[in-house]
Every structure is written in structure tokens, then in C-alpha cells.
Symmetry: C2
Subunit: 506 residues, 2 copies
């Protein structure tokens, strides 16, 4: 028997076990090469009590971080085992998870059945795979995944977590939502759309993600204004009272397999149509959404580069949504440059509030896009006259009804965890030559904002001073960097000076 | 500036960096999510001195294994940085390796050019990719990799390491070798073939691998009889004197990219034709081999399940070998069951010596297969009359010339690091019913031998008492497990009792 030791190492969602090379209890070399092990709790009677996890094994030298009879674990493994420090544990070679054959078949290019995908999702959610194995699956699926596999995976992912049911509040008719596939910095339309449709009286229980590789997610930006880390019960209370919410999905356990897949897809920059569809639709269906407006930005540096790709993706969304009984409306939007002016939580929240307050200098592109999306959501309402969505959306925004709805939602969710302002260290990036701004690289600006500290420093990021179509003089400021630390400002500046992301044509 | 600390953690070929969550020098959260960082040495002048590595970042809690101003690293990262403990280092977000776009293109299904594959292999050998990224590449390549990509990858892999040149010893004619694609336990023909062809006077500088997921590699088995961890210079001396050698390739740096790919392919059970060809031919060409006999075992539990697959693989080997100027002879062999009796280094070495000593009860299948392969290699010799290879091989074996050559090679390589005998704890696995042995599962027996401790305990493994075609009575022993530790015997026994791997038909 070994003694469990939490090493306080965060291996970013991976179960890692650490064993001394000269372990006094088992021979470490036995486990090293296949390097997947099972760790099990040992009860008072000296026998396994049934609680077990799988982990990747790292060997540790004598005299380093462990005693010879200790088994160290990463934070993820410790949390999953659910035992106290010093508990008695055993270790054994891990037999492959039940779905290992299916995973291997997929890697070798075979199609999987719904039963195989269900087994696989079960093992994924139980953390039985290493990140290397998960990467193998997502890459294989990005290369060959039929429509019916996407559908089967979506169904399995929905069933693998919590499914919200809104019928208890007597509203079985319609749960509306909107989603953007992302990739466009500053694109915080949800924070305007949700108050508009909630003010109209439609129910919109919006859950959002935090940024993983982008400079801000809707959850990060909303957190500048209100608490977002609500659990399912708290979220329900807000929605019952205010018709809408803007919360972080992390505490709600909707499609947990999606979060695990994303943790490997993002570092690998995998954004295949098949994975987007399974990811988004599983989350929405699990949230109890019945009517969805989907925003597909198309542009040279967006996820979708041309209309052909966008159309193929639209059809895949429609195929799966129809099969799982979700009404979907897909809209192609302009993805040629960032939306609004701010990139980063505080700067984006400022733009959102400027639109909701009808301020004269509020970013027009953010307002117009939000109205377009809100209009299409309002059209789901059978009571509204066909084609009347845009007029209704404009009216709710102009009258201040949307702003009032936003303020009620903020109050219902609670105050934000910290008060934030734009970060104090700034630096302007200037045009290298005179001419017209012909394009702004979304990926590049996202990376610069991220290096400046967004989203971890809420006030960090970029404030765009000029956008596509404007004429600029050489030396004229294009955008302003905001950072909280000199080192971050340095990282961002170095990258921005190598290429500022603006294409200026003479 | 941070202080470098070696944590003594072996992350199995992966560069891992550990940083305190509350680091006093940089904000750890900046680096966490993209989680690939660059670690660079800081010179006496306080500036980066050019030495840098890439690593995956894990965050560590205060009070755990690190001080707040320390940067911990895994053994791999420490070795690669080449700095002393306590050295001043800095950390920065890692920009993607030069070949990142190519890797991503491959993941998304595009073919890569030779230039792109060269760039990628350079980054792989410089350890610039995480295992997750490497897994993404090997899976994408397993799904779609053209013949010309295989050829280009092979060339890039050859050029990325040491290339042995045998012309200095005046032997520019012919360097012969044999290789088996593996998967058949006990298949230690190299240790018989090399002495035969060396006794004839052909030059055969054989490098082999240690087992990764199998119960024994040729290097593990040869190490029972002689030292195998020779460097390139020592290997050259042995070959110059004895015409042949049987050494471990790990110190020779032939096709180092191959070793890195294998470290992710094996745990993922990826054995695609494309990867086998690039792996084997890059190693052989780098070793200076000019004439190769390739053993492709075909059988229901072998890597190749049928003649069609074997033929496709043969053609791919021929295509690439022709293009790189390597003469290849491909032989399909019986892969329906293990070869010889022993599985595990000591037991396999016993079988090999029994064949070389012409003992009457030496395993006939091991002897016959070795003679077949040696005969084909001998036919490469222009001086030999066409069709005379088998007769010559038999003669060299029967006369004791092969045994004498083996003994000279053993003496030249030096004594083994330890004296080993079959492991003392034994247990017999018995037939559950009477009948004829219709098949033996190679994969299953390999797994049982591995659980019993092979190859780490050299004397551990399996001794086969009955093979395919034999008639057995219920209760009659089929094979004997050998283990060095009671826990290993328990792991192996549990697995063998759930399924003994023998198919007995009545």
C-alpha cells in the first residue's frame, strides 16, 4: 500500500501520478512505459474499495519531491479520487477503457456507431483518457467524421451531463438562444441581444464560456458587470425572474465532454465543422434551448474564410439540429474585422454598455449586428407580425427597455467579484504609412490583446481607434494597448511591432 | 529572473515546466492556458544568451514543491537546457515553432511538401512539440499520407540525425541487414541471422530497439548475453573486427525523430503502413545499410492480418526504398503464433543459444525462420551461386561457425551488465478443455508476459510448453509464467486466467 500525497500541481485537466523510481512498495519501472495506471483506494480491510481513477505516470528521483512509499497526484487526480491526503492507495497497470477499441478504430479511419460513441463519451467524462489519447480522437474525427457520427456524438454528449428542464416554470413553449462560433474579437453581441429579447418577454437562459485562447469570452466580459459563476439553481432563479441571464457555463455541467474535448482542441487550433456542431448543439440542447439563432462570421481571418465553407457548415448544423428537434436559424455575418472598439473584458463591457445606453458614439457595428441577431430571435415569437422583429428590437433598445433589462439581470446575478477599469499602462501603435485601412487581422489582434494580459487582467487588451475603410496618415495611432504589468506590455508591444495586424493600402 | 530547479521528475520525453501560481517574478496565469512556454537562459549581463527550450507549463500551489522565485523543470527539459541548478532563467509565451502551420495543415488533411516535412522534423528533433501536438501529427498522418509524403518524411528523418558511413573501412560494396516489423513474441531471428551472415563475411551492423510495449526487444534479449549500449565508435570497432554486431540503437542517434514519434505511436497503438515505412527505412538508411531483408509476419493476431495488407505494405516499402537507393527484399512469413518457446529476454536468449548450439530440442520454428532470412541475405553476395543461400546458411549453422561468430561478437561487445536466469516464481496455465490448439493470440501473450515483468525483469515472461497443432488434454499445462515479484505474478495470472490466449478446438 502507498500513501496518497497531493503535490499541488495543476496539470491542466490531466490526471498525473508521481511515483518514486525506487518506490519501496511496487517496482516503478513496471508502469513506466505504457504509462497509464489505475490508482485505487484501499479500505480499512486492506482491499480495494471500488474507488479508482486512471492517470499518466511520471517517475520521480529519490530525494526529490516524494517519500519512497508515497504516491503523488496532480490536482485533477486528487479531486477525482476524492480521498484525503495520507489515504492508503494502490497502483496497478491500467487496463484500457471500455471504448479503447472504438477510439483506436477511429484513429485508423473507421466510422463509429452511436453505441461506440456513447461508450467513448462515457470514458471521456470519467477522465479515463490522457490528453494524448484525446488529441488522437479529435484529430481523427477532424479528418473523417460522417454526419451521422456528428449526430450520434451530439446525442451522447447531451446525455453525458445535466440537462436543464424549463417546463417547471410553466414555460414549455420556447427557450431561445443565440450563439456565435467565435473568432471575431470584440464580438459581444450576446450582452445586448439577451436584454433585448428578455425585455420582450422571451426566455433566454444564456450560458457562455470563458476565453480559452481568445482575449475574452462572454463570461469574462459579463463578469466585469456582474457575478457569472452561478450554479444551475441560481441560474434558474435569475431566469424565472428576469427572462434571461448571462452566466458562465462552468458551474452548470452542461455537456461536460465538450469542455474536455475543447481543452485539447484549442491548443491544437482544431476547429473542424464536425466538432463545432457537436460542441455547440450539445451545449444548447442540454441547456433546454428550443430555438437558436446561430451567427457564422465569414471573413479572410475569421474561422470561415468563404461562403462555400459557411454553407457546408450551415447544412451540417441544420442536419443535426433537425434530428435532435432544435429549431435553428443560421445567419452569415461580416467577419472581416473585429466588432466594436474594445478587445478585452473591460473594454468590451464599456462598448456593450455604450450601445445599451444609446450613447451617440457607441460602436455602430456592434449595435447593428446585435439588432440583426435580436430581430431574428424575436421573430421566433408567434405573436409578432412576420418581418416585425427589427422594428421591435430597435424600439426595445431605443426606449431604454433593454438597458433596464440588463440592469435587472446584473442585479439578479449579483455584483462582480472585483471592480475593474481599463489597465493603466498604455502604448499607441501607429500606422507605418498613409492610406486606407483595407483589412484588420482578427487572429493577430486577438493574440496581441492576449499577450497584453487579457482576459486575466480584465482591464488589459486593445482599444481600436481606426477601423476598416478609414483613411490614415503615417504615424497616426491605429490602436492603443492596455496592460497591467510592464512585462505584459513588453510581450504585446514586441509582437505588435513585428506586425501590427492592419493592412493599409495606398 | 527565475532560478532553475531540477525537480527530478521523468515526464517520459516531455518538457514540463513548473511555476508557482503566486510566482514572485511573472504572473503565472499569463502562461497557463496556451500552456506552451519558452524557457531561456539569462547571461551574466541579465539578457537572454540564446539558449532556450519550449515546454508545457504546469502551475504549482504555494507551499508545495517550489519556492516562489523558482522555475521547476522535468528531467527532459533540464537535460535539454543544459544549465546547472540555480541558473538564472526567464520565461515567455512560446511563439509557435516554424513548422506549426504545416502541422496544423496536416491535421486539417492537407498534403505536405518535402520542405514542410523537413521543417517539421527539425522542430520534432529539437523537442519543440508537446506530446499532444505530436499525437495530432501522427494520427493525421495515419489517416492521410501519400507515398510521396512518406518518401519526403523518410528523407527528412534520415538527415535529422547521425548517418553511419562504412566506406572508411574499405568496404563500400555492401552493408546487409534484416528487420522484422514486430508483433510476434519470441521472434528473435536477428540474433541467429547476424552471426550466420557475419560468419560468411558479409557486413551486418545491426542496431535494435528495446521493447516499448512488447515483452522484449532484440536489444533487451541480447543484453542477457553481452553489453549492448555501445556508442557509434564502439559499434564501428566491433563491426570492423567481427563483420557484425547486435547493439542497442539508443546511443547511436540514428533517425532520432523516429524515437520521438514512436514514443507517442506506441501508447496510441498506431502502426500505420506509412509510419512503419518511414520509421524502418530512415533507421536503416541512417545506419548505412545498402541491402535489406524485411520480414513481414502475416497472421490473425499479427500486425498484418492478411496478404492484401501485406502486399500493400510491401509495395510502399519498395517504392520508398527504391527512391532512396536501398535494395530491399520483402518476405512474408507465418505470423500465426509466437516463434520459439520463450517470451521475455532470458527465455528468448536461451532459445537463440539452443539454435546456435544445434541442440536437438532447440525450437525448430525459430531455427527454420532464421535460416530462411539468412539465406536471403546471403544471396545478396554476388560470389554465391544463385539459390545457394539456404545451403550455405545451413552449413554455417551446423558447422558451429555461426555459434563461433556469435561468441566473438559477444566478446567484442563486452560482458552483460548483469547475470540473469529465468525468474524464480512460476505458475503453469492449463488447458480448460481437451482438443487441438488451433491458435495462439500473439497480442494477448505479449501482454501477459509484460504483466509478469518482462522486459524489466529480464528473467520474467512466458515459457510456451505447447504450440499450434498440438493435441492437449484438459488440465494439461499450456505455458509457464515466470515472475520476479509476487505482485507481477498476480497481475499476469489474473489476466491469463480471464483469457489464456489459446484457442483449443475439439
Amino acid at each position: 500500500m502507498l500513501t496518497l500525497r497531493r503535490l499541488g500541481i495543476d496539470a491542466y485537466r490531466e490526471n498525473i501520478a508521481f511515483l518514486r523510481r525506487d518506490c519501496a512498495v511496487v517496482r516503478a519501472a513496471d508502469f513506466q512505459v505504457l504509462n497509464r495506471v489505475e490508482i485505487f483506494a484501499v479500505g480499512a480491510d486492506g482491499r480495494p474499495n471500488g474507488r479508482a481513477i486512471r492517470a499518466t505516470l511520471n517517475l520521480v528521483d529519490p530525494g526529490a519531491v516524494l517519500q519512497a512509499s508515497e504516491l503523488g497526484v496532480s490536482d485533477e487526480a486528487f479531486a477525482q479520487l476524492g480521498l484525503g491526503e495520507g489515504s492508503a492507495v494502490g497502483i496497478a497497470p491500467a487496463s484500457p477503457p471500455a471504448s479503447a477499441d472504438a477510439l483506436h478504430a477511429k484513429v485508423m479511419g473507421r466510422s463509429l456507431s452511436e453505441a461506440e460513441l456513447r461508450l467513448l463519451v462515457t470514458d471521456v467524462v470519467a477522465n479515463r483518457y490522457s490528453k494524448m489519447e484525446l488529441a488522437a480522437f479529435v484529430v481523427a474525427a477532424a479528418n473523417a467524421f460522417s454526419r451521422d457520427e456528428v449526430l450520434a456524438l451530439t446525442r451522447a454528449m447531451i446525455d453525458a451531463g445535466t440537462r436543464l428542464d424549463w417546463s417547471a416554470q410553466g414555460n414549455t413553449r420556447m427557450i431561445v438562444d443565440k450563439h456565435s462560433i467565435g473568432g471575431i474579437p470584440g464580438n459581444r453581441t450576446s450582452m445586448i441581444v439577451v436584454p433585448i429579447v428578455a425585455a420582450h418577454g422571451l426566455t433566454c437562459p444564456k450560458t457562455s464560456s470563458r476565453a480559452i485562447t481568445s482575449p475574452a469570452g462572454t463570461a469574462d466580459t459579463m463578469e466585469v458587470l456582474a457575478r457569472v459563476a452561478l450554479d444551475a439553481q441560481e441560474m434558474r432563479q435569475v431566469v424565472e425572474r428576469e427572462h434571461g441571464c448571462l452566466v458562465w457555463g462552468g458551474h452548470v455541467n452542461l455537456s461536460p465532454a465538450d469542455d474536455i474535448f475543447i481543452a485539447v482542441e484549442r491548443p491544437l487550433s482544431i476547429d473542424s465543422p464536425e466538432q463545432m456542431v457537436a460542441s455547440i448543439l450539445s451545449k444548447k440542447a442540454a441547456a433546454g434551448v428550443t430555438h437558436l439563432v446561430l451567427d457564422l462570421p465569414v471573413g479572410p481571418t475569421a474561422k470561415l474564410r468563404n461562403t462555400e465553407d459557411a454553407t457546408n457548415l450551415r447544412k451540417l448544423f441544420e442536419y443535426v439540429a433537425d434530428a435532435i428537434g432544435l429549431i435553428i436559424e443560421v445567419i452569415f455575418t461580416d467577419g472581416s474585422q473585429p466588432i466594436g472598439r474594445g478587445i478585452g473584458p473591460v473594454l468590451e463591457a464599456r462598448d456593450v454598455m455604450a450601445v445599451l445606453r444609446n450613447e451617440p458614439d457607441a460602436p455602430a457595428d456592434l449595435r447593428d449586428k446585435s439588432l440583426l441577431l435580436a430581430a431574428r430571435m424575436l421573430e421566433f415569437d408567434p405573436a409578432l407580425r412576420g418581418g416585425g422583429g427589427m422594428q421591435r428590437a430597435r424600439q426595445l433598445l431605443a426606449s431604454g427597455a433593454a438597458l433596464a433589462a440588463m440592469q435587472r439581470i446584473m442585479a439578479a446575478q449579483g455584483p462582480p467579484p472585483e471592480q475593474c477599469a481599463p489597465a493603466a499602462l498604455t502604448m499607441e501603435i501607429k500606422a507605418e504609412r498613409s492610406g486606407m485601412i483595407a483589412g484588420i487581422d482578427c487572429l493577430h489582434l486577438a493574440r496581441i490583446a492576449r499577450l497584453a494580459g487579457a482576459p486575466f487582467v480584465k482591464g488589459a487588451g486593445i482599444d481600436l481607434l481606426e477601423k476598416t475603410g478609414a483613411h490614415v496618415q503615417a504615424g497616426q495611432p491605429l490602436y492603443r494597448l492596455h496592460a497591467g504589468l510592464a512585462s505584459d506590455l513588453g510581450f504585446a508591444l514586441k509582437y505588435a511591432l513585428s506586425d501590427n495586424g492592419y493592412r493599409v493600402s495606398s
